[in-house]
Symmetry: C2
Subunit: 345 residues, 2 copies
């Protein structure tokens, strides 16, 4: 696995069940997956990605190049937000004039958790570095500009596909982002009706098929007014939006990812409880270690705690808490209380 | 943790969730818990046990000395099978003459999974080594003899206790042993009525309190005709009879054990499904590696597979499979089919 953060860490926990030996490409010997016992080699993620070849390469390209992904998805008939490459500083202003303000400027690659995403309120607020010199760069534009979608909700759908044999899809989850970082999710979805949820599953499955994904494919969707679905992002790996599957579904996304990439039969995805919620544990300004509050958080009955073994830094995902309940409101309440306990100064 | 087998392996998986660093005393660097990523030191289990002191020492003594445990439990008013120490070869014959044949001869310490347990059909079948020279051994008798209980069923109850704060108890499970090895378990119990199950919980809780256990305390009970409960064995650690708690209960025995020994608040023990079953994967005569059949076993929908990374040997526990369902029969069917798939020659 390329990377040794929390996604690799939780994949390692799943790998132990099946006695699969997982080796990760880590940045340091204290990365979360290495601390959890994964075999590792020290290496740069970008180098490791570059040497990979095989059936997943085209799919990986989409995951790493937002501009190529947008263009491909649109050409294949999938609805995406209106967008344009930024080849010159004036392109953002032109796009805003045509599609209205605000607009969203995104780094073509490398962005995550809100990094590399800038909401630009109007023509006077365009950062001067956007598009400067890109017209001459043989690698193409470094930024794209997108219409700001007036969201009803954000949904995510996990699909798992193996090289041979049928794929599976998980129930839709509804995610809530603040400053581009997922704060929490609930399932089943409450903000949209069942018809939109069904369409989200159909769309995600079709998109994963189109990409030819192998492993977990997480499709993030915008719900625009009227229930219209737009493809936001696609990730080809276990994903934050699937963390509640560890306790909440009959096969966790981490077990499923291993089964899929090893071309083994996939497992059932149905939920084990009426509702689930997951709240991310995000580092606060004081950088305090949440494990000092573990006893208080464990007092919240029914909260499933996951600490990633990462140093706390402001805005960094350092753990998550899942809860299962009769309703999403109850589950969200339990998980939120445990996170609040962990973050108490 | 003393020992680095499957119990330590599954404790390591739970420790990752809470970012607890687990160190195990292992026999080799390829022991199951070490393969799963636990920190380790090579050492003999007996030495490690001998140097331990503290509040759990008395309880540990009971776990390691069946004769002392039987005597203490009986003196405290807990019903145990009729038994006697074997101080001379004639003691087994005398016991059989008094209590009837067959009798069960047990090693005072060190036995597990049917090892160190001999069912003796009559006075002519007593192995000559039993009791020879024990009258002179300052360490006391090496064997005890017990009445053979005509079982209605075998039950197990897990209790978790922490040094401060209240303990918790898990729902009763019904275990099925063949040749002294647990083959499978189901919960809720079907072979006895609810009154016996309630009494089993009461008895196990009282016994764990009496012992002063810290951590998971597994109480194995015989159900004699008429529903009378006798204490069979007590284990002061996560136990085979609790493996279905990983998927089947809101807090697994491995998470609970860590919370208990670290004196953290304990978690809820209620089941997440109407019924659960666990079937042990036991090495067959051909010593075949079950992982070669993983794809076939994964085709059994809803089976939770756990492979311990141990070399297969006849009679050795090398994994287990759990299933959740609407009835114990359905759950047992699913888990059994997955185990059968793994053991297909």
């Amino acid at each position: 696995m390329i990377g040794a953060g929390q996604l690799a860490r939780m994949t390692q926990q799943a790998a132990v069940d099946l006695d699969v030996e997982l080796t990760v490409i880590a940045q340091t010997a204290t990365d979360p997956a290495v601390r959890a016992g994964a075999r590792y080699r020290i290496g740069a993620h970008a180098d490791a990605a570059a040497v990979l070849a095989g059936p997943g390469r085209r799919a990986l390209g989409f995951a790493q190049d937002k501009l190529a992904a947008r263009a491909d998805f649109r050409a294949a008939g999938f609805a995406v937000p209106a967008y344009a490459p930024v080849r010159a500083p004036g392109d953002v202003a032109d796009f805003g004039a045509e599609h209205g303000w605000p607009v969203v400027v995104k780094a073509r690659s490398g962005g995550y958790d809100g990094r590399g995403v800038i909401v630009v309120a109007g023509p006077d607020a365009i950062p001067p570095e956007i598009g400067a010199g890109d017209g001459d760069d043989p690698a193409g534009p470094a930024w794209l500009v997108e219409a700001y979608v007036d969201l009803v909700a954000e949904l995510a759908v996990l699909v798992a596909r193996r090289p041979s044999g049928p794929g599976v899809v998980y129930p839709v989850v509804e995610t809530t982002q603040v400053d581009g970082i997922c704060r929490h999710l609930v399932t089943p979805v409450t903000a949209v009706g069942p018809a939109v949820a069904v369409e989200a599953v159909r769309l995600a499955t079709a998109l994963a098929d189109h990409i030819g994904a192998v492993g977990i494919c997480a499709v993030e969707l915008f719900v625009a007014p009227g229930g219209r679905l737009l493809v936001n992002e696609v990730a080809l790996r276990p994903h934050n939006s699937g963390h509640a599957t560890i306790e909440g579904n009959r096969t966790s996304q981490f077990h499923q990812h291993l089964r899929a990439v090893l071309d083994w039969p996939l497992g059932p995805t149905d939920p084990v409880a009426p509702a689930a919620a997951m709240v991310n544990l995000i580092g606060t300004a004081d950088c305090a270690d949440p494990s000092r509050n573990l006893p208080a958080a464990l007092r919240v009955g029914g909260a499933y705690l996951h600490l990633y073994g990462k140093e706390s830094r402001p805005g960094r995902k350092i753990g998550h808490v899942t809860a299962l309940a009769a309703t999403t409101a109850d589950a969200l309440d339990v998980a939120s209380r445990a996170v609040a306990a962990l973050l108490t100064p």
